[in-house]
């Protein structure tokens, strides 16, 4: 396609006339256009309705896209009408569609969550800014997962990062500013590294399209430039993915951000980075180069195991619920990167299915904490004391979500863990399976601390009073509904795991098959 078009000037790619061919573009453009609209109209009510509507639309579009990809294979969309290596191409793979589905679902549900509780530093009449930033973040994350162009990934990475810094800084606690700042520093380094990596690879291949680059890379794989480029890409993504020991920005960011922002970011941001990392490793460079020649597994595997233990151990000692959940995320991300480092179908499947399972679980749990914070005014483990009788539904939601973190059979967490163990066995590493199982016992400890507090803790003194000075009661329905939907999803997809697993498996097969183009 390159040869015939050179010299013809502008060549165009004809699109079919059906409107749904534009869905890949719409998926990102919808929130991208809605964000400045929110900013333009300066109305909180407008922004709120628009953002929720757009999030649900993106979810619908993501569903359609996923079905289409599963039925017809990769969906391509030439932006600007320019064919692949010349213009920017949207390349919706199964894995990409899967990730955008998770991102848009979590966004839609967190935006459905009544924001009454999320007291932020913004005055009420300026809340539209919050929705604007939220939509930008959503657009950025969706764009990263859907695009087939390395530089475009960087651009959307920047959009999502910048907006998430702003969102995190909105947290009520003044420490949110510092958390946002340190995330900004780390995130900018991560983004910068990614950019350097892209630059070096561009030097050696002359293209930015992922597939095109994947075809042209094998010829230059043995050069030092490519090696260094790969390293920069990987380290940059590892920062965004909070791979141990580059995770230090994460706990503060999730702890001090406004409640809904924690819920949204915890369920989505790292997951998208995970997908991009998988794309870089398996599609761009190919498993053979990454694991056989460079031996990345020897680095990533111990780091993942360390993350599993360090994250869970740290979670055990946290007094603040959100910090506890944040450290738990570091551990859970360890499971995901472990799956990636196994470099087999089962391992990658477990990582990809955990994108959904953990995204849903962790967002649900952060929303639970938001409910608790709204009623009690605190988010410490102590603040859960005795909530079992006063906020029964919220408490039960925490218990179920916690079980999913542990990986109790019947919850979504178990499905991922089981698949991960299969991956470890397929890689002939029984000890790794044992390590995974033992590490989940640590999750039992940190979850159980909270559960005991819920059902056995006795609130002391003023603790039995909520933040409005009245006795604590169940969270309002408008907050409970999205929370319970997310938590119920962990059970539904824990028992009925066929759909999630089969999609994750075809995504994994596709990614692994993409080695070397």
């Amino acid at each position: 396609m390159a040869a015939e078009s050179v010299g013809q000037g502008l060549q165009q790619v004809a699109l079919s006339t059906a409107f749904d061919v534009h869905f890949p573009a719409l998926e990102v453009v919808l929130p991208l256009v809605a964000a400045p609209l929110c900013f333009l109209f300066r109305s909180r009510a407008f922004a709120r309705i628009l953002s929720a509507a757009v999030a649900w639309l993106t979810f619908g579009v993501a569903l359609v896209l996923l079905q289409k990809v599963l039925a017809e294979g990769t969906v391509r969309y030439p932006l600007g009408g320019w064919a692949a290596p010349y213009g920017i191409e949207y390349r919706v793979t199964v894995a990409g569609a899967w990730v955008i589905l998770v991102v848009s679902l979590v966004a839609a549900l967190t935006l459905l969550f009544d924001s009454r509780g999320s007291a932020s530093r913004l005055a009420p009449e300026r809340r539209y800014l919050y929705y604007s930033a939220f939509l930008l973040c959503l657009a950025g994350l969706l764009g990263m997962a859907i695009t087939g162009d390395l530089f475009n990934i960087f651009v959307f990475l920047e959009i999502s990062s910048l907006s998430s810094y702003a969102l995190i800084a909105l947290g009520r606690d003044r420490r949110a500013l510092m958390a946002s700042y340190s995330y900004l520093i780390m995130g900018t380094i991560g983004g910068g590294f990614f950019m350097i990596g892209v630059g070096l690879l561009y030097q050696m291949t002359g293209t930015l399209n992922v597939e095109d680059m994947a075809q042209r890379l094998p010829a230059v794989l043995d050069t030092r430039t490519v090696l260094v480029g790969f390293a920069f890409l990987l380290v940059g993504l590892s920062i965004k993915l909070a791979v141990f020991p580059l995770h230090q920005w994460l706990p503060n960011a999730y702890t001090f951000a406004p409640p809904r922002v924690s819920a949204f970011l915890a369920g989505t941001a790292t997951k998208v980075s995970y997908y991009v990392m998988a794309e870089v490793v398996f599609v761009l460079f190919g498993a053979h180069f990454v694991f056989t020649e460079i031996g990345l597994g020897a680095v990533l595997m111990p780091l993942s195991v360390a993350a599993m233990f360090v994250g869970s151990l740290a979670a055990i000692y946290q007094a603040d619920l959100r910090r506890l959940l944040a450290y738990s995320s570091i551990g859970q991300l360890g499971y995901m990167t472990l799956g990636l480092s196994l470099a087999n179908v089962e391992g990658l499947t477990s990582g990809l299915v955990h994108v959904f399972n953990h995204g849903v679980t962790k967002s649900g749990l952060f929303l639970v904490v938001a409910c608790v914070g709204y009623r009690t005014g605190r988010t410490t483990v102590r603040s859960m004391a005795g909530l079992g009788t006063r906020m029964p539904a919220t408490s039960l939601a925490f218990v179920i979500g916690g079980m999913s973190l542990i990986g109790v059979p019947g919850t979504a967490g178990f499905v991922s863990k089981w698949e991960l163990i299969r991956g470890a066995l397929a890689a002939e590493r029984l000890w790794l399976a044992a390590v995974v199982l033992v590490s989940s016992l640590l999750a039992v400890v940190y979850v159980w601390r909270v559960v005991e507090m819920i059902y056995f803790g006795r609130p002391e003194g003023l603790e039995s009073l909520g933040r409005d000075g009245e006795p604590v009661r169940e969270a309002p329905f408008s907050m409970l509904l999205p929370t319970l939907i997310l938590v119920a999803a962990t059970v539904v997809f824990g028992l009925w795991s066929d759909p999630t697993l089969s999609v994750a498996r075809s995504a994994a097969v596709e990614l692994l098959g993409g080695a070397g183009g």
Binding site: A25, V29, L79, G81, P124
Partner: protein
């Protein structure tokens, strides 16, 4: 270097410049030319170096220069904060709007040829560059308002708001 910081570092650095008559006259003379140059860069981007991004920055630079010399208030009389914010959104929407238009015309997002078979590329590029220029100029101005209008005594308020 140490010597140069003398006049600037004194308290209220930007304000001090208001009293520098030479700077004021020079700035007053320069500003229209910078603005003109910004427009040139904006519309000459097809032929020479430049484009919306650089033009936007230049445009904002002119406003900033004016603001440094005559005070932010004077600039805000011309371009109020709210207008700068609106223009940010307008710029982005202009760009994205071109894309949406081409999409509604049945071509790919941002496929300018949908606008016109012959001059589509020209028009498209012109429009999106205008969007970039507006957005960048407005953002830079807004950033300047945010930073340039702050004073050491206006500490961030501690008030927190629920919704």
């Amino acid at each position: 270097m140490a010597d140069e910081r003398g006049p600037v570092v004194d308290d209220e650095p930007p304000m001090r410049m208001r009293e520098q008559i030479v700077l004021q006259v020079g700035g007053r003379l320069l500003t229209p030319f910078i603005l003109l140059f910004a427009l040139y860069v904006q519309f000459h981007g097809d032929f020479g170096p430049g484009g919306g991004f650089q033009a936007g920055v230049l445009f904002a630079a002119a406003l900033v220069l004016f603001g440094l010399l005559f005070g932010v208030d004077r600039v805000q009389q011309v371009i109020p904060v709210s207008v700068s914010e609106v223009m940010i959104a307008v710029g982005v929407l202009l760009y994205a709007g071109v894309g949406v238009t081409t999409l509604l015309l049945g071509s790919a997002f941002l496929d300018y040829d949908a606008l016109s078979a012959e001059h589509g590329q020209h028009w498209g590029i012109l429009l999106v560059e205008a969007g970039v220029g507006i957005a960048v100029a407005a953002t830079m101005t807004r950033l300047y308002y945010a930073f340039g209008s702050l004073h050491p005594d206006s500490e961030p308020a501690a008030g927190e708001h629920g919704e």
